[in-house]
Each structure stands twice: as C-alpha cells, then as structure tokens.
Symmetry: C2
Subunit: 337 residues, 2 copies
C-alpha cells in the first residue's frame, strides 16, 4: 500500500518488547509498507538486533529522548515532553514523513498532542475517538469513546460524518448505516441533545438508520454517542465480558470432573474465545484531525499492537482524512451525501 | 412477614398465565404474606381454579376492568384507564390495603401513575428506578435506569440516598458503599454534573466510595448515574450477554463433534447459566414514592415474576419508605448518616 507509519515505540505498558515485534510482523505481512520506529535509538537498536538490516529502506529508527508516562497529565506531557516518542511520531505525520502514527501511550496526552500538532479539519469542532467492536452481524464502530464528555447535537452530527467515512475507508462499505445510541422506544426517548441530534442526522444526507438501543445487535455500521455515554458503554462491556469469562472459568474449574469437561470442550471454548478476542479489535482511531492517529490499548500484546498498526495503515491508504475533509466541505456547501 | 402485595395480574407480555402461578408460588414460600390479585375477575377466577379457595384469607381478587397496553403512552394510560389493573393495584397501596404493588406493565405508565397516585417523598424531586445485577463479588444495585434522562448533581445525590436505603432494607447491609458511575481516571474525569455530584456525595454522610468505572467489579453496593447513562449500561449489558450466549451456542452447535462436547460439558454450562440467570435479578424498584412499587420485566416468566413479588414484599417488610423518609429528614436537618 506504500504507506509509511510512525510508531511510538516507547509508549504503552510494555514499550519496545511489544511495539518492535509488532512492527516487524506488520512489515512482513505488508510488503509495500514502511515504518519509522520512534524512540531511544540504543534501546530500539538492541530490540531490533539482526532485523534492523533485514528490511532495508522500509524501516528506520527516528530518535526521541523522552517518554510520556501512562499516568502523566496531558498538560505536563505537552509542555515538558517536546522530544517524547509520542510527540515526535505525530510530528512525522505533520511533516509528511509518515501518513499515520500509532501509540499505546496515554489517551489524554495522545489526543492533546495530536490536536495541538496536527490541528482539526475544517468544520470539525472536536476530534473524537472511534473503536470497533464485534456484533451479532460482524462488527460495529462506536464513537465518541471519551474525548468529549459534554456534546452538543452538532458534535454528534460531526461524529456521524467522521464515523461514516471511517467505515467507508477501512471496511469498504458504501454509505454505511449510521445509528444514534438512545434509550427505549417508550415515552422517554432520550435527552434533549439526543433528540436534536436525531433531527440533524436525519436531514444530513447520511444513511441514518435511527435510534440504536443495543449496539451488539449490529443494526448499524456506526453508532454515535457522547463520550461519557460511549465510555460507560465500553467499560461496562469490558467489565461484563471479564466477569462472564471468570464465571465460566470458575464453573469449569470447580472440581476434577468439571475440569475434565473443560478439556473435552476445549476446542469449542477456544473457538468462542478467538471470536470475541479483544486483541483483534485493538486500535481506536482519533478522528477529525489533519492526519491519521491510532491509539492502541496500553496493555496490548504484540498481536494486538500489530492490529492497531494495520488499522492505521489501512485508514491512510484509503484516504481517510481526505474523505472526511471532502464530506465536511460538501456539508458546508449544502450538498447531499 | 405479614405484608400484603397488590399484583397487577393483567400486565406484561403474558398476563395471568405468568402472574397467577407466580403469586401462588410466592404465597406458598411466604406463609405470612397476603396477595391481592388485581384484574378481570372472570379471567382470574378461571386462572386460579381450585387454588382460589386454598389460601383462604391470604388471597383475594380485586376487580379492574381495563388493561394498560405495553406500548400505550403514559399520558393516555393516565387519562383513559382509571380502572386499569395497574392503576387499581397502586390505588390499593395508596389506600393502605396493600403495602406494595408489582406490575409487569409498561415502565413509563407505571412510573407516571405511581407518581400521580402515591406522590413523592418529602425532599425527593424525582423518583428513580433501581435494579440489581450480578457482580464479581455478589450483586450490585444501579440507579437510575431511565426515569430521568437529564439529571442535576442534586438528583444524583438523592439517588445515592434512596439506593443506600434500598440496599440496607433489602440486603440487610449496614452503611452500603455508594459509588458514582464515571469514566477513566485520566485527565477527563466526567462531565460537569458528575463532578458536582461527586462533591455532594462526599459531603453527604453516605458511605461514598468514589468513582466506579466498571459496575461488574463489585467495588460498591450501589452505583448512581443519570437515567440515560444507566439505561445505556443496562441495555448494552443485556445485548452483550445475549451475543456472547449466542456465540457460545453457535460454537458448540457447529458439528456433531462440538455437539458431543456440549453434552459432556452440560453440567458446567448449566451451572454457569444459572449463575447469571437474569430471572433471579428480575424486579426493578421505583424509589422515592410514598409506597413500594416494583416493576417486573415485561417478558418475565413465572419464576422471574415471583422474584419481583418477593423483592416488593421484602422492601415493604423492612420499612423501605420509612427509611428513605427518615434519611431525607435527617439530611434536611443537617445530621450525618
């Protein structure tokens, strides 16, 4: 695909022990792609070993002396860490050296730095964070997931436009169905902001399919909501999945007999686990910026981080930023979708 | 326990075919309790058959000619259905004939009628809906679940007080831990309302344990949130649980071999299912009213509906309304919890 991805190799819970093998795996499976590994050169040289020479011009190290801590305040990271691997990776996108950046560093700092360095696209008030989740019918994209905790109806409309273009670019879906996360079909049909957003989305020319009450039903391709609600939905889902997994494990681990049952059922249990493996869905896209930035889960392993790099490369190769820009310009000039 | 419960026998998806057997099962397991079955006398008499005489004074039929439809607007139900089984059951609480009412009818109508007939307790601006869910450490109560879609910080404080008293009364927990549903510990720490609610809860004298990000962890006994967020969390949980169950069933149903695996693993799979059986958790309590009202899931079966009756009787027997009233009065006079 000819895309160059800048990798913040020092971010996340595991740093180069995860980011370096993930980058190598990505380059192996994408023969056209290039990667710039950003971080402390001596650490990265050692982590790469013999592989440093193997990829020739497709891979290079770019120095950055600092690292943004996982709990560091975005303000402090912005002010005091101008040579952090996170910031330098995003600078490379800004300068056109790379078409996308990937980091497993802290979300707040990544959003603040991305916004400061890259700026938002014309017509976009606030960038949003989108992720993909499994659904009954395949997958579903949800945004915002926490960048914006107090949203107006106009923000939700912008999320709809950005999310729609993300799915079009990355999943090659023509006119993705956009849903609005809302509660019940009874008397109570959402708060004021959601009611207004519904009207705006309906008039937007997007393929708006109305209210969505259960994101996992898969009745839409993209679901928009404010960042507080989206973050609660995501954390609630993670918590419930963890609890159910723990309960299943406890029931099978109860005694020798149930342990034997688990052994017999292992292939089916493994297939189930593979199917809902959160690592496959790793990589949240920061949308609305003048450049592609993907946030990996901080605790992702090499397989998960590789998916985040893949996601960033796919978005850049399919002109995500240009698509959102064109769509926003068309909206401003009153054209239909 | 000597409590009398008024049962809306005509409400819900299944009406008397579920509500009548559930009431009989409840009376069998609670030798002190009494029930008033509200609905069309001929229908109920037929559904009861020989059982009508069996419970003597512990059970009687109270006539109501109308039924509130599951999709009926609360306003219409209020205005045109003054002799509905739902309304009459709540009237019986108002008149002191019963100490609690249970209905599987539509939530909006039940809340509107309860509020109109029973009125709210002094100091309570808005009633809320609370439910119990399984957690890693047992169970957790969550409110509000949809009665209030735009809440102020003061409303969230009132939810904390009501939820705390509910857990104290029904679960016999001394000073229940109250948590506030919020997002991340990063820069973004919730919207303005949540930030203010946190301060109010901290100063309230309640056993406030701070922000809760994942309700299923079980780090609190009660979690408060606005009705929009609570409803999204509940619906997201239901959707995810359904999806995971479907996936598990699909993996075990794939072919003859995996079906055989499922047969072998059946006892463990059944134990798992029992553990997360939503019927055990059926029965959402309408809090803040001058009377106990419990809403059963519309599609509940007899076992589920019986749990809702049990929950209502337990709340009434343990003076839920008086407890909330006393706590609100103490708050007004500036006393500690």
């Amino acid at each position: 695909m000819g895309v160059t991805v800048a990798i913040d190799c020092m971010g996340g819970d595991h740093g180069p022990s995860v980011t370096v093998p993930a980058t190598l795996a990505f380059l192996r499976s994408h023969p056209d792609a290039r990667a710039i590994l950003v971080g402390q050169p001596d650490v990265l040289t050692q982590a790469l070993g013999d592989d440093l020479a193997r990829f020739g011009e497709r891979m290079r190290i770019h120095p950055a002396t600092q690292v943004v801590g996982m709990d560091e305040s975005p303000t402090v990271a912005m002010k005091n860490k101008k040579d952090s691997s996170m910031r330098v990776a995003i600078n490379l996108v800004k300068e056109g050296e790379a078409q996308a950046a990937v980091s497993a560093g802290n979300t707040g700092a990544l959003m603040a730095i991305s916004r400061f360095v890259l700026k938002t696209l014309p017509g976009i008030d606030r960038p949003a964070i989108a992720t993909v989740l499994p659904s009954m019918k395949g997958y579903i994209y949800v945004l915002d997931l926490g960048a914006n905790v107090d949203c107006s109806a106009e923000h939700l409309l912008q999320f709809g436009i950005m999310g729609s273009q993300l799915v079009a670019a990355v999943e090659h879906v023509d006119r993705p169905r956009v849903g609005l996360l809302n509660i019940g079909e009874e008397e109570i049909k959402g708060n004021e902001v959601v009611k207004q957003a519904s009207a705006l989305l309906r008039a937007s020319g997007l393929n708006f399919c109305g209210n969505v009450e259960d994101i996992y039903k898969g009745s839409a391709d993209v679901v928009v909501c404010d960042g507080f609600v989206g973050n609660v939905a995501l954390k609630t889902s993670e918590g419930l999945a963890q609890m159910l997994t723990a309960f299943l494990r406890q029931e099978f681990g109860r005694n020798l007999l149930t342990k034997a049952m688990a052994l017999v059922a292992l292939p089916a249990l493994k297939a189930f686990k593979r199917r809902v493996d959160h690592r496959r869905y790793n990589g949240a896209t920061l949308l609305g910026l003048r450049g592609v930035v993907v946030k990996s889960h901080g605790s992702a392993d090499a397989y998960g981080f590789e998916q985040a790099i893949h996601r960033a490369a796919e978005a850049a190769a399919n002109r995500l930023i240009e698509r959102i820009g064109e769509r926003m310009a068309a909206m401003t000039h009153g054209e239909a979708a």
